[in-house]
């Protein structure tokens, strides 16, 4: 057995990317939507395959370590990838028919990058994987470069440049920090080992934390989020808002909990501050927003704050809950962006005003949006409730009572704007006419998300058990 087998899933995804690229080169104009369907189908195949490939193992030189923890993330990223592909499929074929394949290639590259993160045990691999996840996103954010976006302004350049500049800057920041940390130890292993943390290392660690903080959109590294969410193509934002976040969280977990376990005195307070600031800023800034994508951007900042609380627990329990949170967040946030996308395409804009009366024009989309909103707000029998509740349980158990207080209070504030969206889309009748009819792939993606959100809301145990055993594996192996 070659150690490449450990990477079979990642190789398969990379292979799909290559296949798509080649197909596009051979017959560029004949593919149409087929390329999207093919990608989705193959990704689904990979998702199925994840259950039949080796689940544990270590690559030579301790560069990479496969475990249920890693497999959990891989599946999350694959699901996000499938849903992202399905959600974008029709929009791509319609709006940018001549560069569909490239979209999938870049998306898949990013997915490969993400999938490598949770298993990385070496800084070099982690850093490269992290960048592999990030760089395609800069490009994808600018995808709608030519067309006039709904509402009249093309925001592609703005969306991608803001993402890029802040992203590149934070890369540089974490690179500098990394130099301080690993330069002084002389080893590229993430695991720091024992011994006291020197001030210089502490300095570096928090720079690295800042760099990761950018990717997950934690305050104060969050500024790009609303602009990018608003300007980038919505189906892509659906993907952007969940998968890289999960990737960033995985990196944080690998580094902080896996590598710098002993140095928690340095980073734990900072993490708590980031968590609090994210929850506070996200929830407060979201209130006056009228563009749903922008509102969801701030909401995403707040949601990441909750997830950070889970990491701040530093317990197996808390990490398990964070995994559960992230996995459900994939369905919820992807779902809500896809619904907004579907609605906006037919209603002509993303503002709450334009989306008013959605549930009159398409009852099931209106209901779906409501369900996703409730899940984000943490209302029972949709999965978001469990996610939040579990996190709070873990945090309280870990003694982070202050953070729980803040989180609970701010969650109520969050309800204010989630309900405002619901008020517009579900309650008011609006003025427009005509049905809202998303395409088949988009419908399929939304229905999948909806089924997951409701199904897991009714019976969260399978996912919770998977999260817990992933977390357990992580803590056993570290």
């Amino acid at each position: 057995m070659s150690w490449l087998e450990l990477l079979s899933v990642d190789l398969m995804v990379a292979g799909i990317a290559a296949l798509v690229l080649v197909l596009d080169a051979i017959m560029p104009s004949k593919l149409g939507k087929a390329v999207g369907w093919l990608t989705a189908a193959l990704l689904l195949g990979v998702l199925v395959a994840t259950f039949f490939v080796p689940q544990t193992g270590t690559a030579p030189h301790q560069v990479y370590e496969l475990s249920p923890w890693v497999m959990f993330f891989k599946r999350v990223f694959l699901v996000a990838g499938i849903l992202g592909v399905l959600g974008a499929l029709e929009w791509l074929a319609d709006k940018t028919p001549r560069r569909q394949a490239e979209f999938y290639v870049l998306l898949l590259s990013s997915v490969v990058g993400m999938m490598l993160i949770p298993g990385a045990r070496d800084w070099i691999l982690l850093f490269v994987a992290f960048e592999l996840m990030g760089i395609p996103l800069y490009v994808l954010a600018a995808w709608a470069k030519g067309d006039t976006v709904l509402g009249g302004k093309s925001l592609a350049a703005e969306a991608s440049l803001k993402l890029f500049v802040t992203g590149a800057a934070s890369s540089a920041l974490s690179l500098f920090g990394l130099a301080l940390v690993i330069g002084t130890t002389g080893s590229t292993q993430i695991a720091l080992g024992g011994g006291a943390v020197t001030p210089l290392q502490g300095f570096g660690m928090l720079l690295v934390l800042a760099g990761f903080g950018f990717k997950v959109g934690a305050v104060p590294f969050h500024m790009w989020v609303p602009d990018t969410y608003q300007g980038a193509p919505t189906p892509f934002v659906a993907f952007l808002s969940v998968a890289p976040k999960a990737g960033g969280m995985a990196a944080l977990a690998v580094v902080l909990l896996g590598g710098w376990t002993q140095a928690f005195g340095t980073w734990a307070p900072a993490l708590a501050v980031l968590a609090f600031a994210s929850m506070a800023v996200g929830n407060v800034f979201a209130i006056p927003q009228s563009d749903v994508r922008r509102l969801l951007g701030y909401s995403g900042i707040a949601q990441i704050g909750y997830a950070l609380v889970g990491l701040a627990t530093r317990t197996e329990y808390g990490v398990g809950m964070t995994l559960f949170f992230l996995a459900t967040y994939v369905f919820t946030n992807l779902g809500i962006f896809l619904v907004v996308h579907a609605a906006a395409e037919d209603m002509g804009g993303h503002s709450t005003k334009v989306l008013a009366g959605l549930s009159r024009r398409s009852p099931w989309l209106g209901a779906a949006l409501l369900v996703f909103l409730l899940s984000l707000a943490g209302i029972p029998f949709v999965v978001g409730f469990w996610a939040k509740f579990f996190l709070f349980l873990a945090a309280w158990k870990a003694g982070l009572t202050g953070l729980v207080w803040a989180a609970v209070a701010l969650a109520v504030l969050g309800l204010f704007y989630y309900l405002s969206v619901a008020r517009s889309t579900f309650m008011s009748d609006g003025s427009g006419e005509g049905k809202v009819r998303p395409g088949f792939a988009l419908t399929a993606a939304i229905v999948l998300c909806l089924a997951a959100v409701v199904g897991l809301g009714l019976y969260p145990t399978p996912l919770l058990d998977a999260s817990m055993s992933a977390s357990k594996a992580f803590f056993t192996l570290r």
């Binding site: 800069y138 440049l161 690179l175 002084t184």
Partner: protein, 99 residues
């Protein structure tokens, strides 16, 4: 103060200069230049530490260079996009999302 500390501070100065540029520049490419300065400062640090403590610092620099190249390629493409969209390369122009 040992020469090592001085070299760390040298890298720090370079990095801070990059930061300064990042925060003051309005031209997109000028910002890119500042980011290059920052990355370069980090590389300097790697090399300095690699010499003092051994380890794979140089390898890291090699990877960092590769990544920087990719970033710059994408970045410049985005600057072109900006230019095409606004007929200029001032980043301040890209401020239409917020209402």
């Amino acid at each position: 103060m040992s020469s090592l500390s001085q070299f760390v501070l040298l890298a720090g100065v370079l990095f801070s200069i990059g930061l300064y540029g990042l925060m003051t520049r309005t031209h997109a490419i000028a910002m890119l230049l500042s980011i290059e300065l920052m990355a370069n400062a980090a590389n300097v640090l790697f090399v300095v530490f690699a010499k003092a403590f051994g380890g794979a610092g140089q390898i890291f620099v090699l990877f960092a260079l590769a990544i920087t190249v990719a970033e710059v390629a994408v970045g410049l493409a985005l600057v072109m996009l900006l230019y095409r969209r606004y007929d200029d390369t001032l980043l301040d122009l890209a401020n239409e999302a917020r209402e």
